[in-house]
Amino acid sequence: MAALWIHAVEQGLAYGIAALGVFLTYRVLKFPDLTVDGSFVTGAAIASVLLVQYGVDPFTVLLVAFVAGGIAGLITGLLNTRLGITNLLAGVLTMIMLYSINLRIMGRPNLSLLRVSTATRVVDAAWSPLGPFSVLAFIGILTIAIKLLLDAFLRTEIGFALRATGDSERMITAQGVNTKTMKILGLALSNGLVALSGALVAQYSGFADVGMGLGTIVTGLAAVIIGGTLIRSNRVGWMTASVLLGSLVYRIAVILALRYGYVIGFQASDLKLITSLLVILALVVPYLRERRMRKVSAC
């Protein structure tokens, strides 16, 4: 049973990196970016091809995936800022393009990583004294490092300009910041993170499939919103932490639904329903608590 919780945290954090990317565009830039459904697979595709066909080191492929995601974000950014295509549509267009591009990168819709040395397998062997915690430790360290780097970036001058672009574009333009550049930067960074997450998840799963990005925006937004509801703060460090927490909550809901759904007699097809109900439950508790506190303070 403990193993299941370890796996939930592993996946929660691995997908949490993508959620951080969605956070960057949706919350910070206030730019709803649908590119992520495509860029997640781009990261997975590039990483898999490099691993299988070129024998590249499994950790380097994460960086290459990041760059590839950055390019995808760049495309969306250019469509929006240079061609004036509205943000949602720009993201959708890039996502659709990426479907074909990803197929070209992989050469086939499904690429198996079962026989190569993936990052998870290397870590499992190298950190074997940690036993079942080796992969969790690796993913944990990687995710925390990325979170801290993101926090630090958002506190730099450029980071502030990025945040201001999302908050009040007109004001920050008056201060001399090129908001177009900021948007492109934000989109590139965000999709880079999403692609990195895709590359990590592909190695964790043992295969890359062109359909594995479907729903990335949904689970990313779920993580951002769940986290934002559970931890209310305007401070960068807490906001990114809440995103990771939200991703964890979602994954734990899935695991709980799988593990205990049988108890309440649900069928295999009810999985997504149970998951959503568990998430609603996770959100309702703090909401009710807050309402009760407000009632108490009112009288």
Partner: protein
Amino acid sequence: MKRSIAVALLAWVVVVIGFAAASEPLKIGITKIVEHPALDAVEQGVIDTLTAAGYEEGVDVEYLIASAQGDFGTAISIAQNFQAQNVDLVVAIATPTAQAAVEVFRGSDTPIVYGAVTDPVGAELVPSATDPSGNENVTGVSDMIPVAAHLRLLKALSPEIVTIGIVYNPGEANSAILTDMALAAAPSVGVAVVTATADSTANVPLAAQSLIGRVDAFYVTTDNTVVSAIDSVLAASEEAGVPFLMADPTSLAQATLAAGFDYYEHGLTVGQVVLNVLSGVGTDEIPVTYQPRAEVHLNLDAAGRIGFVFPTDVIEQASAVLYGGIVWERQAP
């Protein structure tokens, strides 16, 4: 007195544990990538085979049935859940679920039996189709279709059939492989193949309609995306007035003719492999099993709607026809 009571209690506890351990049912985890008539039929076939062999549900065997509902991350979580619950055997239906199971159970003794995987070697589930010694804990049944034979069947329907149109989703591994096989086999069969792609169920009608007037026959393989919208393909073929071959007899009512094998029967074959493994045959002793019997079924009602008459030799091959809304099966002589 107290000591004898304690000993009696201990003995009773040991006996109860012994009974529990002895009568503990076998745990079999069945996982599929998505709800779909064909995959559901495989699952049912497996369960029915085991029940018929004497494994009574709830008594001898406990099934943990799960569906990833199209989410690949969930496929991994399902496999991890099976591992946490110490299942004795995993049945993985469809390629991504099988890959997830192989990844999670790598290095363990738990046998994995896959089904509805078109190319197990290409998916790297097993290293070889014929030599099972490198299988480790994996074996299973492939639903590879004799694509060339299907093209020949279409050609045999009428001398006017020269160009065959295939609607498929290039994002599905099984489908991409089969379509490539069709394209490769086309010249030797003596037909031309034109493809129309649909990356999601919503785009299938458009893809099917794009073939109207360009092809003399429609062909769809075991493509989950297209099969989910198969009525639109039939509608397009009827608008074009040409026959439509579906590579899955379960969908006979939605095609002019169907060839291939029943996915329920495929499930029975998978169940057989499961029984073999349960009875002690090692997974590294069973090579990839290919679905044996392929049948031809004709939909006379649909043919009537486009004014198409099947040639006699095709009718002789058929093992079932749909006529007047009823499926008539040929009796063995």
